[in-house]
Symmetry: C2
Subunit: 196 residues, 2 copies
């Protein structure tokens, strides 16, 4: 049996059922009221099967809302850094604006500061995938001759994802298409120094 | 007696003692362990006096860490939009990087989503003062002829404070002077469209 793929079909079915149940419970009654007993009862699986997979309620909610990140491809080439950044900005916003993610987001943020394991998984999962998208579109921009010199993908990650994150969890002002476009346009112009 | 200033000296002394005690307890043992009983005992004031001022533990921690915002003046004129934004960026970062603020920040974020009253106070206090600083430096930039047209202060608030907030509570990568400078430079260049 190949070492890297140990799960039997029945296990992956349990994974799927548990995650779907958590998403439903979050949408119905929010993060505060989520508990492992309710998940086990509703999903018809043993509590031990859940605890074997997730160490805490926060881990479970995290897995159910920060999902599918391994499949995140870099965006298709739009022909300009501005266009590529706008595609990523829309994607980041859609993910944060998902109803289950909005329910659990503030609690996840609080939990990240308490749980180094969860913070590491967030870094190595979603944030790494996002940073890879920024690195890819910066490489394209360099190939097009849009950039005068090298640009740190982490800086661009902060400059584009940061305002969207702040609008959702700090500033609490609504994000819309016009604002996403203004963010992508300003950052692209700031990085390229031209109005193209 | 003037209506706008009702507090007797003894009351403002209690305010000060309570807030200082909360800041000490937060620094000593964190937000999780903070409770009104401990604050009352340590500050030698009655619990009723605390509850009369603050409806919850979150409100108390908020008051103790998001403080002095009424006195926040707009930054002195540095002669350029880039320089002015850099002063604000440093100020925002210093406030978020304060030890008591770091202890309580993630819990406050979680509480903002549950407490409309706290969210309103955050909007009308710290965030309004910050936005006023951004509006002031944008007006100066317009007077200097740095801007081609009107710029929304909320957009610039998102673009400069957003990356700093995201680095502290989402991305969790360290902020430093070089990065603050890169943020201010990129945003200023994006808004002015020149390399000045």
């Amino acid at each position: 049996m190949p070492k890297e793929r140990q799960g039997r079909p029945r296990d992956s079915q349990i994974d799927h059922t548990v995650i779907e149940t958590v998403r439903k419970l979050l949408a119905e009654s929010g993060y505060e009221r989520l508990n492992i007993d309710a998940v086990a009862a509703r999903a018809k699986v043993g509590k031990a099967a859940i605890y074997r997979r997730y160490a805490s309620k926060a881990e479970l909610a995290f897995a159910a809302t920060v999902h599918d990140v391994d499949d995140l491809p870099p965006p298709a080439d739009t022909g300009s850094l501005r266009g590529d950044l706008l595609v990523i900005a829309h994607r980041v916003w859609r993910r944060m604006n998902d109803p289950a993610a909005r329910q659990v987001g503030p609690a996840i943020i609080a939990e990240l500061s308490r749980s180094p394991g969860l913070a590491a998984r967030f870094q190595q999962g979603l944030l790494a995938a996002e940073r890879q998208s920024y690195a890819t579109v910066l490489n394209r921009a360099a190939d097009r001759g849009e950039l005068a010199g090298p640009v740190d993908p982490e800086l661009v990650h902060l400059l584009v994802s940061g305002p969207i994150f702040f609008s959702a969890y700090g500033y609490q002002i609504p994000m819309d298409d016009e604002r996403l476009e203004a963010i992508a346009t300003t950052v692209a112009l700031g990085l390229t120094g031209t109005t193209r």
